[in-house]
């Protein structure tokens, strides 16, 4: 790395990108990037654009019934933020389960998403919450913004919908009715400092003894974090019964495409997703 920049506005950050010397990297908490550089897994970027001082990228705000989260908000701030804890507690719970306090002080929600690991712990909660991502780029020296639904953001391991000189600025989620309950859990071989072997999220509106609305999501079991549309479909507009739960579990196991790696085998992951979803559904029914 030769040049380190610390812009204070999105426009300034974007303007640095096309004019940078050599390879350029956007940089937030550095918890994904730095270990790769220092261990020589990927070569150091020649220009680093640190986004943490860009004011609009930090913090959490209410905006027309939506929660608007700056991309550079640290996991520790997501975990403790009163608005998120009240209106999107599933996201606060997931942020609190990432790594350890030291990593949570640094790692940002935007970095977690843009790094695009299938195991990114904030991705599945944001799928449950139907999050929209706001991206910014320069066009004719003007900041242009577009929005992308979270399920369209992930393209593959390490690959996203971001264009080459584009920044993720905000993550927006809508507030939900109080009948809407969302749960997320990850499984690893130890309780902390663990990258998920598999993660499952379930959000349900079970008012009037019927599934009024449902969202399901999976992590670490496909090339990207995945929305479980097939499992959702079999649960919709019915009471939660043994039969519908069994069908949902079968649908879940069929719609994921896990791989075998150092953490677990493909068949173990498939089995695990079934068990995790089944337990969540039972808990939802009994609560």
């Amino acid at each position: 790395m030769l040049a380190y920049h610390r812009p204070t506005t999105t426009e300034e950050a974007l303007a640095l990108l096309p004019n940078a010397t050599g390879t350029v990297s956007l940089y937030a908490g550095g918890t994904d990037l730095l270990p790769r550089w220092t261990r020589g897994i990927v070569p150091w970027a020649q220009t680093v654009v640190d986004l943490k001082r860009v004011h609009e990228l930090r913090g959490v705000a209410r905006d027309n019934g939506e929660i608007c989260i700056g991309a550079c908000t640290a996991m520790s701030d997501i975990e403790s933020n009163a608005t998120i804890r009240e209106h999107a507690p599933v996201l606060a719970e997931a942020a609190a389960r990432i790594a350890c306090s030291q990593i949570r002080s640094r790692g940002t929600i935007g970095g977690n998403l843009c790094n695009a690991s299938p195991a990114a712990d904030t991705a599945v909660p944001l799928i449950l919450l139907d999050a929209t991502l706001e991206l910014a780029r320069l066009e004719n020296d003007k900041v242009e913004r577009r929005t992308v639904p979270i399920v369209e953001f992930f393209k593959g391991p390490g690959s996203t919908a971001l264009a080459s000189a584009e920044i993720l600025t905000h993550i927006r989620v809508a507030s939900r009715p109080s009948t809407w309950l969302a749960k997320w859990d990850k499984f690893g071989t130890r309780p902390s400092m663990e990258i998920a072997v598999a993660s499952v999220g379930l959000a349900l509106d079970l008012s009037n003894a019927k599934v009024q609305d449902v969202r399901i999501g999976y992590g670490s079991v496909a090339p990207t974090p995945l929305r479980g549309r097939a499992a959702e479909e079999v649960l919709k507009a019915k009471p939660l019964t043994e039969e519908s739960m069994n069908q949902a579990v079968d649908a879940a196991k069929a719609e994921i495409s896990p791989i075998s790696d150092v953490r677990a085998s493909e068949s173990y992951r498939r089995q695990l997703v079934g068990v995790m979803l089944r337990r969540m559904l039972e808990r939802a029914r009994n609560s």
Partner: protein, 163 residues
């Protein structure tokens, strides 16, 4: 071969003292502390955020100094294990580690103490579970952790070893 990079100056506050340093843009905060300031209390264990031996406080928050670029620290306030001493005496938390036998080889201790210090600053009366959670990112190969948790708990209960 590592190419030589021009050093870049920056200023920050370390253990209450303003300092100005010149570092390679690739230097981590841990490199700057250990090699430039000779504050070798913070340890290099893994260099990738797994062990916590390099834990320091950056603007009051616990961080892995091996996962922060030194240049990111321009204008920040850093506290290391060396900064805990008060008037030449060990900080009560350090003393509690000594008194409870929470130190064996000592390699993890600076990071462990800084992580516990960060917890006690934000929550002076943590539960055992909160103590254990705050030390999730700190590995110890010697003590089995129990004595470490006891040491932190002794302060959480308001009983300092000096009492």
């Amino acid at each position: 071969m590592q190419e030589t990079l021009e050093t870049v100056p920056f200023s920050c506050v370390v253990n209450g003292e303003p300092v100005t340093l010149a570092v390679s843009p690739r230097a981590t905060l841990l490199d700057a502390l250990r090699d430039k300031l000779e504050l070798t209390g913070s340890k290099y264990g893994c260099g990738e955020g797994e062990c916590g031996a390099c834990t320091v406080l950056l603007n009051g928050k616990p961080v892995n100094a091996c996962l922060v670029l030194a240049l990111e620290c321009s204008g920040t306030d850093i506290l290391t294990i060396e900064g805990l001493r008060e008037n030449g005496n060990l900080h009560p938390l350090q003393q509690a580690f000594v008194d409870h036998g929470a130190i064996q080889c000592g390699f993890c201790s600076p990071g462990m103490i800084m992580a516990a210090y960060a917890l006690l600053e934000s929550n002076p009366t943590p539960t055992k579970q909160q103590i254990e959670r705050s030390l999730e990112g700190n590995l110890c190969r010697c003590t089995g952790y129990r004595k470490i948790v006891d040491a932190v708990q002794s302060l959480a209960d308001g009983v300092t070893s000096h009492a």
